[in-house]
């Protein structure tokens, strides 16, 4: 990439940082330059976030219709997969899968609920009754 081709598009990095890119200068030598962002990347990131929002909405409606527990909703909200949540709570993945059902979720004692609340960074109250 030539130095003159380095994109300086708007991105979420603006006001945080700019990123270093290696580009060829007019003498054909590589040098480091700063870029504020590239539209193509920003679009990829935006489409990922749109997908995350869809997943959160889906989890929300599954909760409201009584088909899944708040665990499912908060996992999506906090972008967690099973291995992340398992790491933070100490539960096995198969346990978390069980706790995703409202029936099993209701049987959890306070100690276990607190583990989930801590992992999600929320209170027990918020865990039991998510405020959308």
């Amino acid at each position: 990439m030539k130095k003159s081709d380095l994109p300086q598009d708007n991105s979420d990095l603006v006001n945080f940082t700019r990123e270093v890119c290696y580009v060829k200068n007019d003498n054909g030598k590589y040098q480091a330059e700063l870029s504020s962002g590239w539209e193509v990347k920003t679009d990829a990131l935006n489409s990922a976030w749109k997908d995350i929002e869809n997943r959160i909405e889906e989890a929300k409606s599954l909760f409201i219709s009584g088909q899944s527990s708040p665990i499912h909703y908060y996992m999506e909200l906090k972008l967690m997969d099973y291995s992340v949540l398992s790491g933070y709570t100490g539960f096995w993945i198969w346990q978390i899968k069980r706790h995703k059902s409202p029936k099993n979720f209701k049987r959890l004692n306070v100690r276990k609920l607190q583990k989930y609340a801590d992992a999600f960074g929320i209170t027990l109250m918020e865990l039991k009754t998510p405020g959308f």
């Binding site: 990439m1 890119c21 290696y22 060829k24 590589y30 997908d51 972008l79 992340v84």
Partner: protein, 336 residues
């Protein structure tokens, strides 16, 4: 630590390597050199595994390898420690800081609050340097940031003990003893770095790593639209681009970085042939960017036909050929 100098780089692990080595008197080290000595260039598409609900693809070598290999090839001894106990992790960090030693730490990005929110996923292979304490906060030199930042002790603890794939477990590391690095030693290190990179790109068995892995992804892309439907397939392409050009990584970016390394290597080794291969990798980097542009047409919903997917895949096939040729030539040049 008054004498610590913050250095911004394209990639976090290169940055930590460069900063820590320069701080310890290895003045000649640059980001491209660290990347090349650490044989940083790679490609892998791990089958059956998902990252953030998309394909698991990486454009560089394993986390930790660049620092480790670069140091080893320059005969620098490294101390590296993982922890079970958070308390012990902080205690040992404080102890090193009190001795005036800046320390590299592996961290998770999700709770790293000086990053923009939209960049904060559960990605655990980020690296930063802690270089002191002031007003109850840790002084942080994060190589992808333009300036230094700070973290409260509880914030630092949280990112050092992030959970999930590649959990850092409080991992910290720093160079322990550095001897005199002769020019001969540097030459040997460059050769070794290049050889290892040729091996990684050309000779890993199975079809998912190195130049073969790029073709593997291309084949997958051709099937995604039928197999997954428009929406999911577009998201998968978006994931490739994000892995390729994300902050602190950069697939196209890594190719340019390796090209820059070969330029430097050519000067140090006095071998002009490397310049030619550097040009080939520049070409490959440009094509990675073209492929990203093509894929972005799909995930923005502008392009929707199977031909558009095929076109993206074809660019990847072309890249694979170019990189294969480049590394084949490279493995012949490097040398005694």
């Amino acid at each position: 630590m008054d004498n610590f100098k913050h250095i911004q780089t394209a990639h976090c692990e290169n940055g930590v390597t460069v900063s820590l080595l320069q701080h310890n008197g290895v003045e000649f080290i640059t980001e491209p050199l660290a990347f090349g000595l650490g044989s940083g260039l790679f490609y892998i598409h791990i089958p059956f595994m998902k990252v953030n609900n998309g394909p698991a693809i990486s454009f560089r070598t394993m986390p930790g390898a660049i620092f480790k290999r670069t140091c080893r090839s320059l005969n620098i001894k490294v101390e590296r420690k993982k922890f079970k106990s958070k308390l012990e992790a902080q205690y040992l960090l404080d102890e090193k800081l009190n001795q005036g030693i800046p320390v590299g730490c592996q961290v998770g990005v999700f709770h790293l609050n000086y990053f923009p929110k939209t960049y904060r996923f559960h990605f655990n292979a980020h690296n930063l340097i802690v270089f002191g304490q002031e007003d109850g906060k840790y002084l942080i030199s994060d190589p992808v940031m333009e300036t230094t930042t700070t973290l409260f002790p509880e914030e630092l603890e949280k990112v050092r003990f992030a959970q999930g794939a590649l959990a850092p477990k409080g991992q910290m590391y720093f160079p322990k003893t550095i001897g005199d690095i002769s020019e001969d030693c540097l030459r040997k290190a460059i050769n070794k770095g290049i050889k290892r990179n040729c091996r990684d790109m050309l000779h890993i068995p199975g079809g998912v790593a190195g130049v073969k892995g790029i073709n593997y992804t291309a084949n997958k892309i051709r099937g995604w639209r039928d197999k997954l439907g428009d929406r999911q397939a577009a998201l998968y392409l978006g994931q490739i681009v994000r892995m390729q050009e994300e902050i602190g990584t950069g697939g196209g970016g890594f190719r340019f970085l390796y090209a820059a390394f070969l330029d430097e290597a050519s000067e140090i080794l006095g071998n002009d042939k490397l310049l030619n291969i550097s040009d080939q990798l520049t070409k490959s980097g440009d094509l990675w960017r073209d492929s990203a542009l093509q894929m972005s047409g799909i995930y923005k919903g502008r392009l929707t036909s199977q031909t558009d997917y095929n076109d993206s895949a074809s660019i990847l096939n072309e890249i694979s050929n170019i990189e294969k040729e480049a590394f084949k030539q490279l493995s012949k040049i490097v040398i005694k």
